[in-house]
Amino acid sequence: MLIRLKPQYPIRPSEITPEGVYHGRRRFLAQLGLGAIGLAASACGKAGAPSGAPQPQAAGDSAGFKLDKRTDMAGKEAPTPYEDVTHYNNYYEFGTDKSEPAEYAGTLRTRPWTLAVEGECDAPGHIGIDDLLKLFPLEERIYRHRCVEGWSIVVPWDGFALGPLLARFKPNSKAKYVAFTTLYDPKQMPHAGGVLPWPYREGLRLDEAMHPLAFLSLGLYGKALPNQNGAPLRLTLPWKYGFKSIKSIVRIEFTQQAPQTTWNISAPDEYGFYANVNPGVDHPRWSQKTERRLGELFKRPTLLFNGYPEVASLYSGLDLRTYF
């Protein structure tokens, strides 16, 4: 049975930008006040949870997704406001400043878009984005998302589990890993520059990719992904640092050997293949013990596997310091 849910975030005219900004200002100023009191009392814990419901804004053109179900997997925490999720991004093909992807990703063309699935599988094939959207019922999962840089957000992602999609292409017995590739087109990405070796590549062990938490996102907040968030399809791997959740995927390949991954090629001592969120393993240059949730004043402790212990069995017997 398919339960048709309306996106839970109706955009009331009164809640578009100005009021969002107003809330944002009130929030930060209020937190500053609270923070000062907290520090003065030298018993400061965390600042209060962000007040004011998050509001999606603008983009009235793309119709909302029909969502089959909605699962909160972020412990009832309020999602980070849409404005922040879509204007504070790492997508280096569109510039290295957090604000640049929102500014420059408009040149990305997401239609037509074809995903190629190849390698060690019995049913390789190509699938267009609009067919992909109809392949499985869309569901929403609210996940925590932790960047390797030490900030984090809570996002309602819309899409479906990665495993069943991969299974359709019938990986064979030689398939041990899955490699993912982002589109690279200098014409659409004039701000890419030479910071990283393009195209952006990522990879997972097959059992990681088949884990029920591994998610393929096609939208967020009940609407198609904005370009800067990795339109038209991206991975969402909530227990790994954000750079593993590769954006704007054009190619998936089943492989026998561990695939090369972009950040690992670029700085092997700083970014490993696994990149599991782990407060016990610091980045060589900064600590991973704490993180700043966007919207909060102070840092909070980072949780092992970003608070998703259900993935721990994937790594039993693996030294997480060596395989960081």
């Binding site: 900004v21 400061c44 910071v195």
Partner: protein, 205 residues
């Protein structure tokens, strides 16, 4: 009469330029335009302003030599002190928002995080310069004042190192600052003496 008024205008302009970044950040804080990560915006804003003013301070001596006018040197102390104020604000932000004033955490960062060690060393070197910047201290320290204030050179290098060590990958911005700094420091090398040495050597052979 005229030269005094010109200096006054220059001083006002320097104050305005130095206060502008603080005013802009204050306004953005009040109006809610600090972006998704307000603490980061404030930390980066204060840090990069400190570095820019520090480089401006170092540009005053070359500017005096180029123009042959005394005004740049009259502005130098003001600029140096503003750089120090921004640095202290920057450090305070980090102490409050990143560490919640925990000294053990500061100790850990100073030992383990190269970029913090570098930034902190820079601050430590510049603090005595700010404290001894008054006419009184200048008189009391006599010639040693000048030697002491040469600490600004290693301090500026440490500040650039701090920036290079903290960026994730794209080092363009810190490298631009480092490039400007190297030009400003290179200017101070005794090129003329060296050139005379070489020319002298050539004429004697």
């Amino acid at each position: 009469m005229r030269p005094i008024r010109f200096t006054l205008w220059l001083k006002l302009a320097a104050w305005a330029l130095c206060l502008y970044p603080a005013a802009a950040l204050a306004w953005r804080t009040y109006s809610g335009h600090l972006g998704a990560n307000p603490v980061e915006t404030l930390e980066h804003g204060s840090g990069s302003t400190a570095l820019r003013i520090l480089l401006a301070t170092l540009a005053m001596t070359p500017l005096r030599q180029l123009t042959g006018r005394p005004e740049p040197i009259q502005l130098r102390r003001t600029l140096g002190l503003f750089a120090c104020v921004y640095m202290c604000v920057h450090f305070a932000m980090y102490l409050v928002f990143d560490l919640e004033l925990s000294l053990p955490k500061l100790g850990e960062d100073l030992v383990k995080r190269t970029y913090i060690t570098l930034g902190f060393s820079c601050w430590l070197l510049l603090l005595p310069l700010a404290l001894t910047s008054t006419d009184g201290w200048q008189r009391r320290l006599k010639r040693r004042w000048k030697s002491l204030h040469r600490l600004i050179y290693p301090a500026a290098l440490l500040a650039c190192g701090h920036f290079i060590w903290l960026v994730k990958k794209d080092e363009t911005e810190p490298m631009i600052y480092l490039g400007v700094l190297l030009v400003l420091l290179g200017w101070r090398l005794p090129w003329r003496r060296w050139a005379r040495g070489i020319l002298g050597a050539q004429t004697t052979t």
